[in-house]
């Protein structure tokens, strides 16, 4: 019996299998069926003061969820577009954001307490659009790798991709389902 081969097969398999570690493949932060999605609980823990959590509305053809990164202090996810390219939209939530150079824009049917600030900027050789959604306890910054004047239809599509869910949904859900407190905004004070 060739006893040595499993060692090498396993070794090579493990080494090859690990090649995917570099990318983030967390579940999509989808606005549909948001109740009790672990990624939202994690996002709520990342920025406990935020009263809203960003999510992705159903995507039209040509857009795809590309990855996310959730860590203490920030939630980040990004979308690819077959027309604009990788990371066409990058969404970042933090507790606050720098609004220097931004001007307030009207936001149709805004969730309670939310305001929109927008600015155009240049990154390298390309123009980008940066939008800040300010709300109590948090700020969501979206960075489009294109401008309204570059691709108006794309911009309109992108406009409709970002949604928000109130943090209270998760606070209440966890409390009702498991009797647990999701510390932060909308929850009673936590020990420690």
């Amino acid at each position: 019996m060739r006893s040595g081969w499993p060692v090498w097969v396993i070794s090579v398999g493990v080494v090859l299998g690990s090649a995917s570690c570099g990318a983030s493949h967390y579940a999509q932060v989808s606005c549909e069926g948001v109740h009790r999605q672990s990624i939202f609980i994690l996002a709520a823990e990342a920025v406990p003061s935020a009263t809203y959590i960003p999510c992705i509305e159903p995507m039209p053809a040509g857009w795809s969820y590309a990855g996310s990164d959730v860590r203490s202090g920030s939630v980040r996810f990004w979308l690819d577009s077959d027309r604009v390219g990788a990371r066409a939209i990058e969404v970042t939530m933090t507790a606050s954001c720098d609004l220097t150079g931004s001007s307030e824009s009207p936001l149709p049917n805004p969730p309670s307490g939310m305001r929109l600030f927008e600015q155009s900027a240049t990154e390298g050789a390309s123009d980008v659009t940066v939008r800040h959604y300010m709300f109590p306890g948090g700020c969501v910054t979206t960075r489009y790798s294109f401008t309204r004047s570059d691709a108006r239809s794309m911009f309109d599509e992108a406009d409709r991709l970002l949604g928000f869910t109130p943090r209270s949904i998760y606070v209440d859900g966890l409390q009702n389902d498991e009797g647990l407190t999701l510390c932060g905004a909308g929850a009673p004070p936590c020990p420690g």
């Binding site: 995917s20 936590c190 420690g192």
Partner: protein
């Protein structure tokens, strides 16, 4: 050990399945524990826990530890340990990452989280990373036994400190830490046991060849018991012997006594293990790549076949009248894993390198090859370590490489090698003159046209270098001119094997380089 691994992996599977099927129950349990632990938070303890987490959960710390371990293993040329370490680290990082996606457990709820974190909580990536690093370092650098055991205890204490700190800070759930500890300890243990088993590749800081097995301790006791049971001999002493000239087995000298009260005597034995089968396979693969199908390069498949073949060649040569040791039998130490072949020990014989070589010895050495030629066999490993001299007679040992009905090339090489060995103890002109008594000029010319490069054993090549005289050149000058015999053999198989080996090596390099950020 096996039971421990099974229990640990069983616990891990239970944790994963538990989170998947009874997530709420686990969440509540984890939250209760987190509340209890964070309930004891005090200022100084929190500062201490934050410092511990900052230091031990840092990628920089883990990277430095891993780099240090890899450099140390590389310095000691423990390539298998390096591979086992890399496989362990990459496997743990990959499994932890995939589990975090699969199980998707949030950070502890119901308590305030202190300190930085990233991604899902199950299993704890920093605890797993530190655990695999320290456990892999212990396995790769510390000798088995007390040093490694103590090293593992230290590793356990360090990771326990990190795990406790992270629980205290509310960064991880209890199940996250437990899963990380299981992964971080079991994967390197399994990896090192498979890739660099301690029996075969022990971590020692004494100079020793990889092929030579440690015959003290449990193995020594097993040898004594098996020789007694199977050959009826009581082993009084076991000593490794002639290790310098042997790479494919562990040669031993046993002091034995017959069970019926006979006098003590010495016998020679060769211990073969699976590592030798593997080494034989790699050796033949290497030869196939470097030279093509120079000879029969089919590897042995089992240890049992190794000893069976050596027993057969000893009997065959003795039957043909060649002076080789008398075989006393094969001893099974561990079925299909380790076997011992026991044979006569040439009492009073000296290795030819240390013996007086006069005309009688030269003639007898040459006669030995003449005998092999006439019997239709080739020894294929004629070198000083395998030629003994006693009372002016040359005795042949280590007949494992003997080939029946070899090619004329291989027979010619045997002649050249014995002439070189004899000339090392005298001079080329004299050996050439004596050789003409038994061989023709053409035989000798062909021998030295064939004996080049790999055809000359390493020990002979080293002795020739040390001697300084160009003995091969001198023999070629004395013999009729003959075009050198090429040893390169080209075939589709050789090209395929070479390309596959190159591709595998390139793949490993590419993947390791590609994962360097994961490793460090």
């Amino acid at each position: 050990m096996l039971l421990g691994l099974t229990l640990a992996l069983g616990a891990l599977v239970l944790l994963v399945l538990g989170h998947e099927t009874a997530g709420a129950w686990f969440d509540r349990g984890n939250a209760s524990i987190a509340r209890a632990i964070t309930g004891v938070r005090t200022g100084w303890l929190t500062s201490f826990a934050l410092d511990i987490d900052r230091l031990l959960a840092s990628r920089a710390t883990v990277g430095i530890l891993r780099l240090g371990a890899l450099v140390a293993m590389t310095m000691f040329r423990r390539w298998r340990h390096v591979l086992a370490f890399l496989v362990s680290v990459i496997a743990v990082e990959a499994v932890v990452y995939e589990l975090s996606i699969l199980v998707a457990v949030a950070r502890p709820v119901g308590v305030r989280i202190l300190g930085p974190w990233s991604g899902f909580s199950f299993s704890s990536a920093p605890v797993a990373a530190l655990t695999v690093t320290l456990a892999g370092t212990a396995y790769g650098l510390l000798p088995a036994g007390r040093p490694r055991s103590e090293g593992m205890w230290v590793a356990g204490a360090v990771v326990a400190l990190l795990g406790a700190s992270r629980l205290y800070l509310g960064l991880d759930n209890l199940t996250d830490v437990i899963a990380a500890l299981i992964l971080g300890f079991t994967i390197p243990v399994v990896s090192f046991r498979f890739i660099a088993p301690n029996d075969v590749f022990p971590v020692t800081y004494r100079r020793a060849r990889a092929a030579h097995l440690d015959v003290t301790g449990r193995r020594g006791e097993a040898i004594k018991a098996a020789v007694h049971d199977q050959l009826g001999l009581t082993v009084r002493d076991i000593q490794p012997v002639g290790l310098a000239g042997s790479g494919g087995s562990t040669p031993l000298r046993l002091v034995v006594a017959e069970d019926d009260g006979g006098a003590e005597r010495r016998v020679f034995a060769k211990l073969y293990a699976k590592s030798h089968v593997r080494a034989d396979r790699w050796y033949k693969l290497g030869r196939t790549i470097l030279y093509g199908a120079l000879e029969d390069e089919a590897p042995f498949q089992t240890v049992r076949r190794f000893v069976e073949y050596e027993d057969y060649t000893l009997l065959l040569l003795r039957y043909q009248g060649v002076a080789v040791p008398e075989p006393f039998g094969i001893v099974e130490i561990t079925p299909e894993r380790e076997y011992l072949i026991v044979m006569e020990f040439f009492e009073g014989a000296a290795e030819i390198g240390g013996a007086e070589v006069d005309d009688d010895v030269i003639d007898d050495g040459l006669r030995l090859v003449r005998h092999l030629w006439d019997a239709g066999v080739a020894h294929r490993d004629i070198k000083p370590a395998n030629l003994m001299v006693r009372d002016g007679k040359v005795l042949l040992i280590d007949v494992f490489f003997v080939q029946v009905r070899p090619s004329p090339w291989r027979q010619a090489v045997d002649l050249a090698n014995v002439m070189l060995v004899l000339a090392l103890r005298s001079d080329a002109e004299h050996v050439y003159e004596r050789a003409l008594l038994q061989f023709t000029q053409d035989d000798i010319a062909e021998a030295f046209a064939a004996a080049r490069g790999v055809a000359v054993p390493t020990q002979v090549r080293n002795e020739l270098k040390r001697d300084g005289r160009d003995l091969s050149g001198r023999f070629r000058a004395l013999a009729p001119a003959r075009k050198r015999v090429a040893i390169q053999r080209w075939s589709i198989r050789r090209l395929s094997v070479a390309m596959a080996a190159f591709a595998a090596a390139a793949l490993v390099v590419v993947v390791v380089v590609g994962n360097w950020r994961v490793i460090l």
